[in-house]
């Protein structure tokens, strides 16, 4: 199967994730879109690994997964505490850190 399709899929997933981060307000959804972008990158890592015939990309993908798992733990905890303190998971409400 032509590896280009994987790359196109990866680009599509990344684009969907990016748009989701930019347009959605729910913190959980934004978070999932971030995960989507990370996994799109993972997919292209693995694809390039396949194309080039060495395992560097695969190793990098594992690293990304580990970091993403750690990030999910911290990120979800933050979202939880925001939700608890203001009864809302909208990221537009958490806009105090500004000029």
């Amino acid at each position: 199967m032509n590896p280009d399709y994987y790359l196109i899929l990866s680009a599509l997933l990344f684009g969907i994730g990016a748009v989701g981060v930019l347009v959605r307000r729910n913190a959980i959804v934004v978070f999932m879109c971030v995960e989507l972008m990370l996994n799109a990158v993972n997919l292209s890592f693995v694809t390039f690994s396949r194309i080039n015939g060495n395992l560097d990309g695969v190793v990098m993908a594992f690293f990304v997964m580990v970091v993403a798992a750690a990030e999910v733990v911290v990120g979800l905890a933050i979202i939880m505490s925001i939700f608890r303190s203001r009864r809302s998971a909208s990221i537009d409400d958490a806009n105090l850190l500004k000029y």
């Binding site: 990016a18 930019l22 934004v30 990221i91 537009d92 958490a94 806009n95 500004k98 000029y99």
Partner: protein, 652 residues
């Protein structure tokens, strides 16, 4: 012009101790200033001791100095290398020769007498110790000035005496007039000092050295290549001399300097410091001998100054200011003498020495009168004091007779030859210079006789007056510590001239330093005629003073309805007006316009820049909205730009 090319030999014998001359008074200053209030009771004795020690040392050096003509009478004592910088090698050294030894004896001798006098005069002053510290500083600086063997060392002493003069004029710094006078003296001296500094720079540029030996041995070669340079150096030196010696156009500070205590006026502003200009020109005789234009300017300045000083002195009512203008005009005579050229430098130095005696004596006498008159200086409030102060009156009279040139007193022996030398210049120049000197002699007799009448004779006007603080005047003779120096100086005023001119003693002694003395022989009129003419002028001056002042009662209030001649004299022949209109007022205007320019232009630009930056950042601040998605968008945009840039670089 070869007579002064004599080079110095290393100092031997007593001359090797020359550095102690400078060090002793300097140590005295240090002790008195560092010792502080603890030395209030004894400090003045330390000061006196140091100056007397310096005088004794100077006397020993003088007595052991080889006679002139043996080729070793000019000695240099190099102490250490002061500024070793590539081509600029300045040795700190002292020159012991007849000229500097003459000055050493004058400075330490008159200085010691005035230290003694000051013990009595400053007895009631709480800062007497400080006063003596400054006096010692002055003596040290003045000795450095006359002993230095390079122009840079001379300049160090030159600035030192300027500092001491500033400190002492402003000694009573709680009086605004004293503080102003001190500043005026310092600033006007600075104008002259710039001239001297430029002269030194020019010497270094042209000859690569600043030592007397180096400059004087090479100046001849410079004169052959570019006579203009030598004239420029001479005129710059003259500017320095004019500043220090109170000569036209820098004369206005000297009368104001009388705000200082009277011993200061006697020592610094009559006998020693103000004659530094004469010393400078006499010391630089090898330079001035090469430039006729420079010498002509010196004589013109001398002649103009002696007339200006005399005219202003005629109208003053402040006893010290009359004496101050008298000093200005007598130094004018000295400038005239040293400007006249090769053979007659010694006459200027001779007049300087005799003037040192009688003018210091006159100032001390004036101080004694003030001491008995509640420190009042207005002669219109004196009168009939000769009965109350017999010693002061007697010593003052001898000083007065010496100053006006009464026959066979000091002033006669020194002033008369200068007038003859002025006539000996020949032609129109001789008539003009000689005429000015002759007229000056008459005017001197006039204003000094006026001073004598107003102070010592006539009605005792002070009996019906009170001083400004409401006290009655009780004129009385001063204590012995004050009268003894006056008596010694009076003896000097009587005999010094005769002693120094006997067999051309001084002129012969000075010849290794300033060249052989040649008796001036006026061709346009005979020397006898000049002497007779001078005596007639002096007699006329005395008689006119009697007619105008002596035979009438002196009004206590200064008459205001007077002729333009007196108004001109009261305005000091425009000295201050010229300074005001030419320098002070334009200077203030320039400063004010600069202040406005600074506020309107420089300030505006700087604050405008700041305001602009603040406005810009207020706009930029608005991009921090607090919405996560706008940050995410800018991150994405940034990433895209980076990627695009990479692609462009990769595929371009």
């Amino acid at each position: 012009m070869t007579e002064t090319a004599e080079m110095a030999v290393p100092a031997t014998g007593m001359a090797g101790a020359a550095m102690w001359l400078v060090l002793l008074p300097l140590i005295g200053t240090a002790i008195m200033l560092i010792g502080g209030r603890r030395l209030d009771r004894t400090g003045h004795l330390v000061g006196l001791l140091m100056v007397v020690a310096a005088f004794v040392l100077g006397l020993l050096m003088f007595l052991s100095h080889p006679a002139s003509g043996e080729g070793t009478s000019i000695m240099d004592s190099n102490l250490f290398s002061w500024m070793p910088v590539e081509q600029l090698q300045v040795e700190f050294g002292l020159r012991i020769d007849p000229l500097s030894l003459t000055f050493v004896l004058l400075i330490t001798g008159v200085g010691a007498l005035i230290h003694i006098y000051s013990i009595g005069y400053m007895h009631h002053d709480p800062d007497r110790r400080k006063f003596f510290a400054y006096l010692n500083l002055f003596v040290a600086s003045m000795l450095l000035l006359v002993l230095g063997n390079s122009f840079v060392t001379l300049y160090a002493g030159w600035e030192g005496v300027g500092l001491a003069s500033y400190l002492l004029i402003g000694f009573w710094s709680d009086r605004p007039s004293a503080a102003t006078a001190a500043k005026k003296a310092f600033i006007m001296n600075r104008v002259g000092d710039v001239g001297l500094a430029l002269a030194i720079f020019l010497m270094f540029k042209e000859m690569g050295t600043t030592s007397f030996d180096g400059v004087f041995s090479q100046i001849g070669a410079v004169a052959e290549q570019s006579p203009g340079t030598v004239t420029a150096i001479a005129l710059l030196l003259l500017l320095g001399a004019c500043g220090k010696s109170g000569q036209v156009p820098l004369q206005a500070w000297l009368p104001d300097a009388m705000e200082g205590p009277t011993p200061v006026s006697a020592l610094i502003h009559a006998a020693t410091m103000v004659t530094a200009g004469v010393y400078l020109i006499a010391r630089c005789s090898p330079i001035f001998n090469l430039t006729a234009d420079g010498q002509l300017v010196v004589t013109i300045i001398g002649a103009v100054t002696l007339l200006v000083g005399c005219i202003a002195g005629c109208a003053k009512d402040d006893i010290k200011k009359v004496l101050a203008y008298s000093t200005v005009s007598q130094i004018g005579y000295m400038f005239l003498a040293v400007g006249l050229g090769a053979g007659v430098y010694a006459l200027g130095i001779l007049h300087l020495l005799t003037h040192g005696f009688f003018k210091a004596g006159l100032f001390l006498g004036a101080g004694s009168v003030m001491h008995g008159m509640n420190d009042d200086v207005d002669m219109r409030r004196y009168g009939g004091l000769w009965r109350k102060m017999p010693i002061t009156f007697a010593t003052f009279t001898f000083g007065y007779l010496a100053l006006i040139g009464f026959p066979f007193l000091s002033g006669f022996y020194s002033k008369d030859p200068i007038i003859e030398a002025a006539f000996a210049a020949g032609g129109t120049k001789g008539w003009l210079l000689g005429g000015a000197a002759l007229l000056g002699a008459g005017l001197t007799a006039f204003y000094m006789t006026r001073l004598m009448y107003m102070t010592f004779f006539g009605k005792a006007r002070h009996e019906e007056l009170r001083s400004a603080d409401g006290r009655e005047y009780h004129p009385h003779e001063s204590p012995a510590s004050m009268t003894v120096p006056m008596v010694i100086l009076a003896l000097g005023s009587i005999f010094a001239g005769f002693f120094l001119t006997q067999g051309e003693r001084l002129a012969g002694w000075l010849s290794p330093s300033v060249g052989e003395f040649s008796e001036p022989h006026p061709e346009i009129v005979s020397a006898t005629a000049v002497t007779v003419g001078t005596l007639v002028m002096i007699a006329l001056g005395v008689v006119i003073a009697w007619l105008f002042v002596g035979r009438k009662p002196v009004p206590v209030q200064r008459p205001s309805d007077v002729s333009w001649v007196i108004r001109l004299a009261r305005a000091e022949v425009g000295g201050d007006v010229i300074n005001e209109t030419l320098f002070a007022t334009p200077g203030i205007k320039l400063t004010n316009s600069l202040v406005v320019a600074e506020e309107k232009a420089v300030d505006r630009v700087m604050t405008g820049f700041g305001t602009g930056l603040a406005a810009l950042s207020a706009r930029l601040r608005r991009t921090q909205t607090g919405y996560v998605r706008s940050y995410a968008l800018s991150m994405l945009g940034g990433s895209l730009i980076v990627v695009l840039a990479l692609l462009v670089v990769r595929f371009a």
